[in-house]
Symmetry: D5
Subunit: 146 residues, 10 copies
């Protein structure tokens, strides 16, 4: 998977400034995951957000403008080969139907929105080995009948 030029520029600027996504969170008041999504052109910024971000990164107006565009989303191959990303594919393969059963039991026929949606990542320290905590929250959308 090739990484687009703008993503590379953003990542390089972030590295040379010695900033983490958590630092950027403090600057533009958006979650670090959402900012990473913006870097990978999976989200679009407001003009203000784009300005603050590019200023912090020492990047120009052209980048700021680009970040406000609505991107064509989705950036993986059909089955991802990177092990970190594949594990999320595997979770869908193995736990997809069980998740469907439990959501439907709790909410009825419908889905969890991936648009009215947030995703947080936390580090759980654990003596047996730290754990990655991923918290997704999506609005339940019941099927409309007509």
């Amino acid at each position: 998977m090739s990484i687009s030029e703008i993503t590379q520029q953003l990542l390089a600027a972030k590295q040379s400034k010695g900033l983490s996504f958590a630092d950027l969170e403090q600057i533009i008041h958006r979650d670090e995951v959402w900012i990473a999504a913006l870097f990978y052109r999976q989200a679009s910024a407001s003009e203000e957000e784009a300005q603050k971000l590019t200023q912090a990164l020492g990047l120009g107006k052209e980048i700021a403008e680009k970040l406000t565009e609505y991107p064509v989303k989705g950036n993986s191959s059909i089955v991802p080969t990177d092990p970190l990303i594949y594990r999320f594919y595997e979770i869908m393969q193995v736990y997809g139907m069980p998740i469907k059963e439990v959501i439907q039991e709790k909410f009825g026929d419908g889905i969890m929105s991936a648009i009215d949606f947030t995703l947080d990542i936390e580090k759980e320290e654990d003596p047996k080995g730290d754990r990655v905590k991923v918290i997704m929250s999506g609005k339940f959308l019941p099927y409309k009948k007509w």
Copy 2:
């Protein structure tokens, strides 16, 4: 996607007994999602768990034995067509790389385990529409160098 016979029998028994996955959670002291995974033969039970579960569902020994077998896992088509399950595929497509960036920033080069892993589903009541909360917790596994 065809649903295997044993899964159908388990679901039918659960429905005729009027039990929810949450009820079963009380009986065998395992999370409702894990139990749903067991129903879909994506997990294996201990003999004791299998016995308690089949007793509660009014099912026989043969089913109990089957539930202790180690299954061949994964039960979706390559790209799932069911909208509820597809949304998790979409999350991987759209947020896969951003998640990778943030996990690596917090933990280093490695992955979130999908084996030493738990997944919970909660209902967040919200006046603007209830939300589905999915909490994943997987052990971070750093790449071993050798």
Copy 3:
């Protein structure tokens, strides 16, 4: 594409009763397309809807119960081969990006929901050849920032 047994039973009953989907619309007060979706197990009925429908079709309780279950949705091959269905795939291929541009211009960054969604089919009589009119209406869902 094999058609599931329950769908075949519903279609056979409808044919032997000489009922059209439009007739069924009068009986259960749901749109004919939604009823056809129910026949193909792409939607789930309330108990009342299921009862009215199976009564009208002269079918038993077992079918009624099945119709209230939440189905695993999606019933086409990856690229459909049936010419009528393929044309909708072609519309997505040819007009997908233009539609995206226009929706985004009118609404911002987001999607048209396929869940909070209705679809109507009308016949437009035309001396040069009748026309099929398909009207889709889906709630606009703006991307949540977090």
Copy 4:
């Protein structure tokens, strides 16, 4: 999905002129969706249309000439990953067979043309959330017997 150079030039010119597709609709008297399709080289313009359009956008003759060429159409991956476009794929997956049933009941054995075809997008204001309305109109083509 990479966007071709001519499309990028057209979109950039439109943005710098501060024109919407709706504005262009006023200038060349074609629907905004059709114009967006022209931008993405999914449709071909007459010389007059091409001239008017490029003049409005401040672009040269070479672009005008290109717009009159008959393009190789179709510009998505097999299963689109962009969420906005995917929803139309999902509609085909979920409602394809029901749509087929209802069209056939109203018209007989045949298809809705995707060539003698128009597509409009409207914004329906709604207090519960605005809705996207997509109206397709395609000539019904009955299967010829021979």
Copy 5:
């Protein structure tokens, strides 16, 4: 590729009656290719056509009724493996773009309909080896602008 039961019954009846598709052409006054398409459930017959055909083949009412249903069409794998059918795939691969150029030069931007369409097969006797002649005739459909 498995051949459906009804197709097998029709082919078996045709063989036991010693009838060719050309003979059936004389009986129902439809082209032999169209009749073969009907056998493979790629076309639908009128009640009269179905009756004549099943009578000639010594088959019952149930088959006749089935033949009037509007089928789900398309019956090959994505890339066909049978050499006779593959050659038509190869013709599309090798001559697809050249055909597009020539049709567009003669007709403008549009397509040859595969619905308002006929296909004949003739045997051309030739001392250097007989030739298969396939004549397709489809209505030209110009792209509608809107």
Copy 6:
């Protein structure tokens, strides 16, 4: 599908000279479809043919030499997305097996050659809409037994 540079040069020269494929047919005494196939590097010319053609188009020796090379053939994606070309894929999907039946009935077990093969395109004027006539003629090749 990207169009190779040599094809683009040939098409551009043809356009600037105001020549149709039918005009070129007069010049090199080969069918217009074959010439279009040569343009798309799906066929190879003799030196004489290449010379005449490039002369007519005002192109140099290098192009002429290239046209005599034996190309790697096949230039579409697995399932073509361009509607004009897709219709030929659809014809193979829908009428593949019927064509196989009729050819085998007339000729025995074997295939229509796609190598000892010609393809003509004619315009049939028709008050109800002009028709595209495609005439394929391929040598029948019976399966050799050994």
Copy 7:
């Protein structure tokens, strides 16, 4: 890959009679590979060949009749997984273009027929390990120009 019932019956009969394909070669005077192709329904027999073969195998008329039918050919998955068959796929992957170069140098633009084609398998004894010799002979078919 599932093996069809008729193939299984033929192979079982061959085994119970203790006959090799080489023995059958003596009986019906066709090459052992062709006979194996007939077993796998990739070739069709004359009535006389079918009779001799089924007699030798102690099988009935029904099988004989089936063997004279013209089969739908091709019986592997897209990329074969069986190692013996895969090696032929690998040969095509690795040596496909080199073979093309050498055939074209010797014969011009065209192909080796896979229809007017024979294939023999011989055992070459060799002290360093016996060798499999596969001899293919296919008529060269030059591309027809038209």
Copy 8:
């Protein structure tokens, strides 16, 4: 399928020197097919072979060095579209299982090596049309038991 730069240089040099693969066979005492495989970077040369070959072709040291590298092999799409190469895919599709049966009958459970392997191409002159003879010879490798 794009042809790599080094292959293009080798083919161009060969053409400008007016050498056939058969001529090169005389010079480096390797089979013409193997040399063509070397051109397409599917085989690696010894330093001596590389030197002789590049000398004959008037090419420099850099090319010679490249030819001694061990290449990443395999250079076709999954299902090849070029008709000449496809026929070998078709042979595997149609005759794969029969070949497996006959090899196993002659040799036992194992495979024909595609590594300890040679492939020759000969022209068989024939008044009914010349024939391409392809002779493969691969060491039989019996499955090791352990």
Copy 9:
């Protein structure tokens, strides 16, 4: 992935006899992995091995005979979904090229045979968590030049 009937019978017999693959290793003097491969019909037994094995498992002659047949091998989907098996696919994805480099550096241009091949699995006890040790040993096969 469905498990074939004979595999199910073998596994059921093994379980009811309370035998491990390691126990069977003692009885037929073949490695446990090879025996598991025999169970899954990926290897073929001698008559003596088949007899000993079926005797130990209390199974009949029919099974013994089946085990001596040479199977069609390969029993996974293209990309395996079972997490245990997928990890081996991932190892090939991530370490395939590095392995190629190191093998070529040590041995030259060639491959590790998967036929003249053994595979052992050992349990390495480790206080930080036991480890799976997989030892593959395959004959190096240098590319033959010809």
Copy 10:
């Protein structure tokens, strides 16, 4: 499969310095396979490792920095075509399920980690032909229940 520029630079430097991966093993005290993985950007180095390695290879700081980045992993096509790499795919196809059975019998329900994982390659000299020995060692990860 294209080899990335950094990989090409590393391989070229290694060759011009006349260093083997085994030599590099002596310099940075990591296994030769791991170093090859680092070359192919499938692993990330510490700053110290990167410095030592680039120093030994005569490469600059920019390369050293790149080697400390956490790469997007996986670098093969879905089914690899290179014969050496394919054999590992084949091992997974043929021995995947047997390996699963034996690992589960020895360890219970879980997987061999591909992250807490090492892989060594040794040359076993053997008069009948040297053998490639591949030793994998991965931590066993039991499925967590929750």
